[in-house]
Symmetry: C2
Subunit: 334 residues, 2 copies
Amino acid sequence: MKRNELKKLITKILIKHKLSKNHANICADALINAELVGAHSHGLSRLKMYCDRINKKVINPKPKIKIKKISHSISQIDANNSIGFVAADIGIKQAIQNTKKTGIGLVAIKNSGHYGLSGYYAEKAVKKNLIVFCFTNAPPAIAPHGARKSLFGTNPICFGTPTSSKIPFILDTSVSVINRGKIRVAARTGKKIPEGVALDKFGKPTTDAKKALAGVQLPIAGFRGSGLAWMVDILSGVFTGGNHGGKVKDPFDDFSGPQNIGHLFIVMKPNLFVGNYSERIKENIKRIKRLPKIKGVKEILYPGQSKLRKYKKNLNKKINIPTNIAGDLKKLNA
Amino acid sequence: MKRNELKKLITKILIKHKLSKNHANICADALINAELVGAHSHGLSRLKMYCDRINKKVINPKPKIKIKKISHSISQIDANNSIGFVAADIGIKQAIQNTKKTGIGLVAIKNSGHYGLSGYYAEKAVKKNLIVFCFTNAPPAIAPHGARKSLFGTNPICFGTPTSSKIPFILDTSVSVINRGKIRVAARTGKKIPEGVALDKFGKPTTDAKKALAGVQLPIAGFRGSGLAWMVDILSGVFTGGNHGGKVKDPFDDFSGPQNIGHLFIVMKPNLFVGNYSERIKENIKRIKRLPKIKGVKEILYPGQSKLRKYKKNLNKKINIPTNIAGDLKKLNA
């Protein structure tokens, strides 16, 4: 489907589900962006879930989002169980505004939901020539180091900075070794998964994808990644007033209440301490890119480069919609 | 040697090397703390190096440290090539002060040197009931993803928060898989190193410790860890005005000039958005600690717990000084 047509369709579906036109547009842009950068698990495949949650009254389609100014730098947002995209869009804009005034902006959001890709919001700040951290937590997916039960979400660490080129530096990395989707594919195709990725249900390391699905996924780098996941849970959950410590509900499976996900944005002006940030970051990237490469590597890429390449490649192509999702769209639009 | 005696000796040595009594005390406390938490590579084993750098005029023992107030929240420090401990001590205190006023403090330091353990400074903020990030870069030690030459330092990510108990949550994790010291030990004892830790000099993965020493160490989790190391280099180097992109000199080997390391501290009040942070973090930790454990694990520890246990165990014991270091101390005090 053409991008514009798809946007019209998504917007129409969300308006049918009681979102305002403005909020529906915000959501459609975020979902289409996920498709364009190749993050299909964060795109169209989630639209039905969002609509289901609205129908079951665990997402509020007409939220009264409250923005509380704590200082010129700091704001708190109560998203009133809005769809996550809308809360995050308002939140990052507020953080950008605060930063323009004071050099640093801090925005905490509570009572939100799954907001898609952190990198999408980071990019909004970077396009305004700002440095940014985005933190969000998520439903249990990986086990804390030493535990044999999942509790932390994939809890991404996301950092962005302008680069002086049109390609922003956007690190958006989950703290799980591989995503659950890949394990599901391995289980279906009978392939083994790498060592160190998962434990079986008894807490023993396994490379058997089926056993891994019944067990738990592991964080990257053992206690280091577990600590990073814990940090993200504290920043986006404990600190903001959101759910934390394994209490964020799975959006696909658990309709017993809103998710109350928390997000935290920290934004800074790049020229606070140096007059020539743009030249400095350019030089930094240049030095790293010209290092000798290992065999088979053509170019050392910085985080965000390959995503932007996919985006550009896909921008003027039709968006491919798998049959099952096309069926969902049809039903949702009925 | 008794702790007090050792502190007197270190202070005396540093005063001999032209530091003020106050600065010598700051350094002695940091070095002894590293010994007490078991981070010997950041303790006494570095004292000779610091003195050598003073003698060769690449550390300034009488720095004129300038603190520039950018706003009530933001300060910039030019450490004038001071020993890193002193710059970081002043920096974290300034960040704490700014935060008490405004809720958030941001301090960038340039023209500093190796400051020891990030967690040591994080703890200072946490003891004042604050949340903190500490970033610093370091001399080349690990290869960016795709490169076969080291460029990033071990670039720790450090985050601390009060916990409502006397044991702070201090995550202080380098982005290298294992430290170089462990590879050196494996090379000496003829043991293999784990897969995924290092490349040989041709850029091929190796488990041979000797080949690894001639090659490069890898970041944790491939491109994820490489991205995190890059982020830390940008935050502590590019952003602050410090050296970056592989230009931080090795303090042991390269006396051709000062290190000009950068540090960045971000500090926040925990109760900005919730009235009961202390209860929330207590509940968070409780939930994680009571998860079912994998076989052989007695307790799920949060970052910082095991370090504090070592510290307490060692606090009233004599500090063991290896023969070669005792020899150094004797010479430095001569």
